[in-house]
């Protein structure tokens, strides 16, 4: 039986949909809001802003994070900025233009109504964050400054030096901390979600594990919001923080929530290349560097001279050559693949020949050292600390790395999954970026979801529950989920094999990166789908977790996360194999134009692929939500 999706897109013209929605949404009266409990899992931009705002509205909020403090969430690492259609620069920006750029950037694989709403609320985010004291960069006159970013021809990106994510997260964290102090939010730190509980088709709460004591506990609520980030760490080496994982979303998926477009994973073009075999993660260098940096490789693969000794004529500024109108600001997927092709051809630079140059010599000459320092100083310092080279003198070495995942839990216009009462926000959902996300749009989406969308949509799901008794944590469904969680963790401890969770994670990552990374082929994906179950079987029989389950045990935490990454990896490969087209970040070698660009197949694949758990990770059921474009014109993406 085919599942029929109801995305609950409001009626009316695209520009009126959000207003129409709000006008017709069911509300909960202020005196009744305190009767509802909402659980928010994750305290990044989406989670912290949702928890703060829902508590301000009067709901009882319980916020959960596996970190020691909500301020650690990985939103903090975003460097470059946040987009908003303010048009403060008077350069022709508008809500419609931001909408169009985002739809086009996503290669026409996202939902129009959601994206338009995102562009609409983007302007409110900036106002909100300024009011909270986020020290955005300013001009000498005291007004807000902007810069440009990949995939856009206007300057609409607001930034706080190279630490925009940090400043926005601290803003949202402070707003939530205020509510913790006032008693509106109860905070559970060092607590990880292990399962979601569904009773009679509705989400009734969650089961969590206290990371200090190993204790398994249940929490019941009227609604649960998963703001638990993306799954880029399935690749092992990525720019994600070490603890980012898919467990919350994946466990919800196993309880019936659809997982949409798992194969849409973004590779960021400007990361520091891997340096050695013990490397645990990769570090991103903000895409904003491409505003002033020029990307090039030596024309000859055998040219091993230092960068400053290679004359202009023997350099290939390939982005400027291939994409003259966007140049070094071509979107992420396109820039990444261009770099990969040259490195594959042997034109890479650096000791392992695994990078390309990002050169600031021209910018320093044009703008002066002081201006470059002002704009990028902290990024240059960061680069120097990691790579041990001074980018004011030598070009940075960069190479693409996994950075963001566009896929995630399927949600409707209200950000509700197909399980009533269960919501997903921020990177954890799939809704706004299609097959490729534009730079400076992740912060925008996280805050849009948490500050402006969920607080307006969640009441529609809650209003009908007024006066009804909800299942409590003594319900058999909670007890059963608790037992499953206990069995699961004692299972890892009792396997008593020979390999650590990290070893399996690294091996899993190699398969996914090789076969389901920047460029995918039918044969490669089939090979991955043959290799993954074998390795997973080994994981289940040869895992070694030392220590016990009754105290802090990071090896045990890791085992649970790697387990879920295995199952997700299988879904990713299946999705990539079935989607016989190239779109955005999903590039199948078989489907490309003669110039080597992604070739979509709108006849067959203009849809969302939402996977349904069947009990066997190798055989999920693929459901389809057709995408209808009423406003945007389905066109071949061109950045030439």
């Amino acid at each position: 039986m085919t599942y029929t999706f109801d995305a609950k897109i409001p009626a009316g013209a695209l520009t009126d949909k959000w207003d129409n929605y709000k006008q017709n949404a069911k509300l909960v009266n202020p005196n009744n809001k305190r009767k509802f409990k909402i659980i928010v899992v994750g305290t990044g931009l989406a989670g912290a802003s949702a928890a703060a705002t829902l508590a301000e509205l009067g709901y009882q909020v319980d916020a959960f994070t596996f970190h020691d403090s909500p301020r650690r969430a990985h939103s903090i690492a975003a460097q470059g900025g946040i987009n908003a259609a303010k048009n403060y620069q008077g350069d022709g920006d508008s809500v419609n233009r931001l909408f169009t750029d985002t739809i086009k950037g996503g290669d026409f694989r996202s939902r129009e109504a959601n994206v338009h709403r995102l562009a609409q609320v983007s302007v409110d985010i900036i106002d909100q964050m300024v009011a909270q004291g986020v020290p955005f960069a300013r001009e000498y006159g005291g007004l807000l400054d902007n810069r440009s970013f990949g995939g856009a021809q206007v300057s609409r990106t607001f930034y706080a030096r190279g630490q925009t994510g940090q400043q926005l997260l601290i803003g949202a964290y402070q707003q939530m901390a205020r509510q913790v102090g006032l008693g509106g939010v109860r905070l559970f730190n060092r607590t990880e979600l292990i399962d979601t509980v569904v009773v009679d088709g509705r989400c009734a709460g969650i089961v969590v594990r206290d990371l200090l004591t190993g204790e398994i506990q249940s929490h019941a609520a009227h609604a649960v919001v998963l703001a638990t980030g993306g799954y880029g760490n399935v690749f092992f080496l990525s720019t994600n923080a070490m603890n980012c994982n898919v467990t919350a979303a994946w466990r919800a998926h196993r309880r019936g929530a659809m997982f949409a477009n798992p194969c849409y994973t973004q590779i960021h073009p400007t990361c520091i290349p891997q340096a050695d075999e013990t490397q645990s993660k990769l570090t991103l260098m903000s895409e904003s560097l491409r505003n002033d940096g020029r990307v090039w490789v030596p024309k000859s693969p055998t040219d091993n001279r230092p960068a400053d000794q290679i004359p202009e004529a023997e350099r290939d500024y390939y982005l400027e050559r291939l994409y003259p109108s966007y140049g070094n600001l071509a979107p992420r997927d396109i820039s990444s693949r261009a770099a990969k092709r040259l490195v594959d051809k042997g034109q890479g630079i650096g000791p392992l020949k695994n990078g390309v140059n990002l050169d600031f010599a021209a910018a320093i000459e044009r703008l002066g050292l002081d201006v470059v320092k002002e704009r990028y100083g902290n990024l240059f310092e960061m680069y120097e600390r990691i790579a041990g080279e001074d980018p004011y003198k030598t070009p940075m070495r960069i190479y693409p790395a996994t950075h963001y995942t566009m896929g995630g839990l399927w949600v409707d216009y209200e950000l509700m999954t197909n399980i009533p009462g269960l919501y997903a926000a921020g990177e954890a959902n799939f809704s706004d970026h299609g097959a490729n996300r534009l730079g400076a749009s992740a912060l925008m989406q996280g805050l849009a979801d948490g500050y402006f969308v969920l607080p307006s949509t969640i009441s529609s799901g809650l209003a009908p529950l007024l006066g009804k008794t909800m299942p409590g944590i003594d319900h058999p469904a909670f007890k059963e989920a608790e037992q499953l969680a206990k069995d699961r963790f004692s299972g890892y401890l009792n396997t008593k094999g020979k390999r650590s969770p990290d070893w399996f994670h690294r091996e899993l990552g190699k398969i996914i990166w090789d076969k389901c990374g920047m460029e995918r082929t039918k044969e490669g994906l089939q090979q991955a789908l043959a290799d993954l179950p074998a390795l997973y079987n080994e994981f289940q029989t040869d895992l070694r977790v030392t220590g016990t389950g009754e105290t802090t045990n990071q090896t045990l935490e890791k085992a649970g996360r790697v387990d879920d990454f295995f199952q997700l990896g299988m879904a990713m490969c299946q999705d990539a194999l079935t989607r016989e087209e190239s779109c955005g970040a999903h590039f199948r070698s078989e489907y490309q134009t003669p110039e080597g660009e992604a070739q979509r197949d709108d006849e067959k694949f203009c849809h969302v692929a939402a996977f349904e758990w069947t009990g066997d990770p190798m055989n999920p059921k693929r459901n389809v939500e057709e995408l209808v474009f009423e406003t945007a014109h389905l066109a071949t993406r061109s950045y030439k």
């Binding site: 020691d68 969430a73 009011a131 020290p135 940090q166 923080a241 490397q279 600390r385 990290d502």
Partner: protein
């Protein structure tokens, strides 16, 4: 790229808050100089697991110097020998073959040890919850460009807003004081026009919450020297000035006999 050989690690092991704890000595035979310090601990942990021993517990997350999760006293210095660098960004090129490296958790009364190298820094959250914010309920904000903020003011606010809340300042302080952390947040918010309405209330509440947990500041300046974001001790002066002023401005004080 070259490799360091024969490193001796003296690592603090403590099974829980009640345990007395002790140093354990481990050898790491070889590691690349491109590896980060935390990757050295990863290698050690893989070694321990292969020997069927429990891995060393330590806090870490982003490994790019911004989340503030990692800590560690390395040879007695918070975040190790490199200035303005978190432990996760410290690379093995700062060490040499045959080195003995002593690794301890933050040591401060307000940060009790949870296990091995992991400590509880939640008093920092309590300080922020007491007033480290600007009250701005979602939805009511005026246009972002309504209030012009002079660039030097905005830049100075940003300088102190960079604090990552790692706790190195407390660990480095002989008194276990949190003045740099609290001062940085107060300086960030009190400098901005948006922060003025709550300026003195905020300062009073945060300073008094800080005093519930942490030692007193005696202007040593070790905090600033250990700070991976190089936050200046000036923020402490600003905090003290505003705290004194708050005692005159606060209604609570005025109404007292």
């Amino acid at each position: 790229m070259s490799h360091l050989k024969n490193l001796t690690l003296k690592v603090w092991r403590q099974s829980g808050p009640a345990d007395a704890g002790r140093f354990e000595t481990h050898e790491v035979a070889e590691i690349s100089d491109e590896a980060s310090f935390l990757e050295l601990l990863d290698v050690l942990n893989e070694q321990l697991i292969s020997e069927n021993k429990e891995a060393v517990v330590f806090d870490h997350d982003c490994r790019e110097g911004i989340c503030g999760t990692c800590s560690l006293m390395i040879n007695g210095v918070a975040h190790g020998p490199q200035r303005a660098t978190t432990t996760c960004q410290l690379h093995m090129r700062s060490f040499k073959s045959n080195d003995t490296i002593v690794v301890e958790p933050w040591r401060a009364a307000a940060f009790p040890i949870i296990k091995d190298l992991m400590v509880d820094r939640s008093p920092f959250d309590r300080i922020i919850e007491s007033g480290g914010y600007i009250t701005a309920v979602t939805g009511g904000a005026p246009d972002g460009n309504l209030i012009a903020v002079p660039k030097p003011v905005s830049d100075a606010a940003m300088d102190s807003a960079q604090c990552i809340g790692c706790g190195a300042c407390v660990a480095a302080c002989p008194n276990g004081a949190a003045s740099l952390f609290t001062g940085a947040k107060i300086a960030h918010l009190n400098r901005l026009p948006q922060g003025q309405p709550e300026r003195y209330q905020r300062t009073e509440a945060m300073v008094e919450k800080m005093d519930e947990y942490f030692g007193s500041c005696t202007n040593h300046g070790e905090c600033s020297a250990a700070c991976p974001k190089e936050i200046s001790v000036d923020v402490i002066a600003l905090m003290n000035k505003d705290y004194r002023a708050s005692k005159f401005k606060s209604r609570k004080e005025i109404s007292r006999d």
